[in-house]
Amino acid sequence: MNKKFLGAWATFEYLDDMCAAIGELKGAGFHRITTHAPCPRHEIDHALGNPQSRVPFATLAGGVLGFGVAVLIITKMALDWVLPVSGKPILSIPNMCLVAFVFAILTAVYFTIGGMFLMILRDTCRHPVPQSRKYRDYDRFMRDRFGIVVPCENDELEKIENILKSHQAEEVNIEN
């Protein structure tokens, strides 16, 4: 069962206002911030402390696994039914590399997708967002507005509201 969200969320018209608000919120000890933006912006990453994604590890794992599996498949197939063709080796490494390379890319791609979705899911679970209808139906985050969601305790709500308002938030919504 979902725990009820306690915190505040605000929308901003300007990116620099939102980045300044993030800076002040972090300075005040609020680190579980979720932001919204219509497109990726480095300014937001800088304000959040340049978080790093671990998706490349999933890609690497997929690539290595795919290459290895392809080598095993080709070796098994070549040795299971030997096809001697003139003086060519039964188990040809150049041919093997070719198919293994392509297979490595295929698995790397699917591992990247899997890694991406899992990491997004993990981060979303760690950073709760409001379940209210107003938040869910707000439809300008992917259009032209920026947003901040901050979970907090009851006694911190006023402090957060003041910070957000001091940075010209367009609207501030308290969820409790």
């Binding site: 197939m77 063709v85 890319i105």
Partner: protein, 439 residues
């Protein structure tokens, strides 16, 4: 880009997704007519066999393999724009990347049909898959045709995922702009993407990795398709230049097809003129110039290599291509791919939309013929004069070829009304974000 804002980009793209008008319906009828004729011709060929195509002995590869190579390489051009230019941060890419990704997927889908059509007994296509047959014999990994199966299947899979992944933020944006059932469907398709920092962080990194692996993939797939020819010992095919030759040709034809798709779209949807700038099209034209030069260089160096190799067979095949029965095709190729693109050196031509459109169509014709000359001439004019032959087009393969264009454009026309054909979030990245204190 000054008049554009985040909001107006959404509006222009959402407007393009309005229910289709009369011109769309008329075009679709023509497209479906071409596709139906192609399917009819294929059915006739399945009933009567490959004698209804032009393939014969010794010309075992004809129009179908030409089409396969042509469409695969259209796809490569699309990946070049969507992936390679993403890695190089080319700004002109943002407005055309969605069209190029869609073009890649549908071109590879079209290409994938041709080995099946060429099989004759198409229903036995699964023999190409790596599974042991009745005698427990596995497939032969030393065959370039099997490399093709892996390469093309991987390429189709990767380009589809790349296309869908790129769509997620834009589907979310369109969902937010829609009402009722449409809103629900787009939101479901966007898998709850709402532009949070966690989503963007992993999405952007994943997309970058996708672009990197897709880049490696186009180099390998273009090379593998070229090795279908190059690893044989036929004169005219057995050449180490085939890998880069096919890759350059792929980018060349892909960029031409991209212009042939984007220019009409820009005309049909008035909002797109503000998004796809003339400068963007001009940059694609510059890529055409560059790849045309590479292709022209290869045409020339192939003759030199034939001369310098001292091999009479090599000399004979290149003489045959340029002065034999196929001379009309060959010189048309040179005219379309080497001479006509010279016009693009002029900025006036590069920035003239109708001229760009016509040149892109001419290049497409030239590239199809180039593949035809490469595929057919070497088998028609091999080592033994006793076994020389000619190639005659048959009506079935002509209609199947026209039908393949119908199949390709059917998907483009359907998609243009379902998904945003301009990458909304990438266009926004190109804009200066809204700052209260102007930077």
């Amino acid at each position: 880009m000054n008049q554009l804002t985040y909001g107006t980009i959404n509006d222009k793209v959402v407007n393009s997704l309005e229910p289709p008008g009369r011109s769309w319906i008329v075009s679709m009828v023509v497209i479906l007519g071409a596709l139906s004729m192609g399917i009819f011709a294929w059915m006739i060929q399945i009933i009567h066999g490959l004698e209804w195509s032009g393939v014969n002995h010794p010309v075992a590869w004809g129009v179908y393999i030409t089409n396969f190579v042509f469409w695969i390489e259209i796809g490569h051009g699309g990946t070049m724009v969507s992936a390679v230019l993403y890695l190089t941060r080319a700004r002109f890419r943002n407005s055309i990347c969605r069209a190029s990704e869609a073009m890649t997927v549908f071109a590879v889908m079209t290409a994938g049909l041709f080995p099946l059509i060429h099989l004759g007994r198409s229903w036995l296509f699964f023999w190409l898959m790596p599974y042991p047959n009745q005698r427990e014999m596995w497939v032969n990994f030393k065959s370039p045709l099997l490399w093709d199966v892996f390469a093309v299947a991987t390429y189709l899979s990767v380009s589809m995922v790349f296309f869908v992944l790129g769509l997620l933020p834009d589907l979310a944006a369109v969902g937010d702009e829609s009402k009722g059932l449409k809103r629900l469907l787009y939101r479901i398709a966007a898998v709850r993407f709402r532009g949070t920092n966690h989503q963007w962080l992993h999405y952007v990194r994943g997309y970058l990795l996708f672009a990197a692996v897709a880049t490696a993939l186009i180099f390998s797939v273009a090379s593998i398709v070229s090795w279908d020819f190059a690893v044989s010992s036929l004169p005219g095919w057995h050449s180490t230049i085939f890998g880069p030759y096919f890759l350059a040709g792929a980018i060349f034809s892909g960029c031409a097809m991209l212009l042939a798709i984007v220019i009409p779209l820009r005309r049909v949807f008035p909002g797109f003129e503000g998004l796809v700038k003339i400068e963007d099209l001009e940059s694609v034209a510059k890529m055409l110039i560059f790849t045309s030069l590479i292709v022209t260089y290869v045409y020339a160096i192939e003759f030199f290599m034939a001369y310098y190799s001292g091999s009479q067979f090599e000399k004979a095949i290149f003489w045959f291509r340029s002065f034999g029965e196929m001379k009309h095709f060959f010189w048309l190729v040179v005219a379309c791919n080497s001479i006509v693109p010279i016009a693009l050196w002029s900025k006036k031509v590069r920035t003239n939309i109708p001229a760009l459109f016509i040149i892109s169509l001419v290049i497409l014709v030239g590239m199809w013929l180039e593949r035809f000359v490469v595929v057919v001439s070497s088998t028609a004019h091999g080592f033994d004069p006793f076994a020389w032959a000619t190639y005659q087009f048959e009506w079935a393969e002509i209609w199947i070829t026209i039908g393949s264009f119908g199949w390709f454009f059917m998907w483009i026309f359907i998609m243009v009304k379902i998904v945003p054909f301009i990458a909304v979030s990438e266009m926004k990245e190109r804009l200066m974000p809204p700052f209260r204190k102007r930077k």
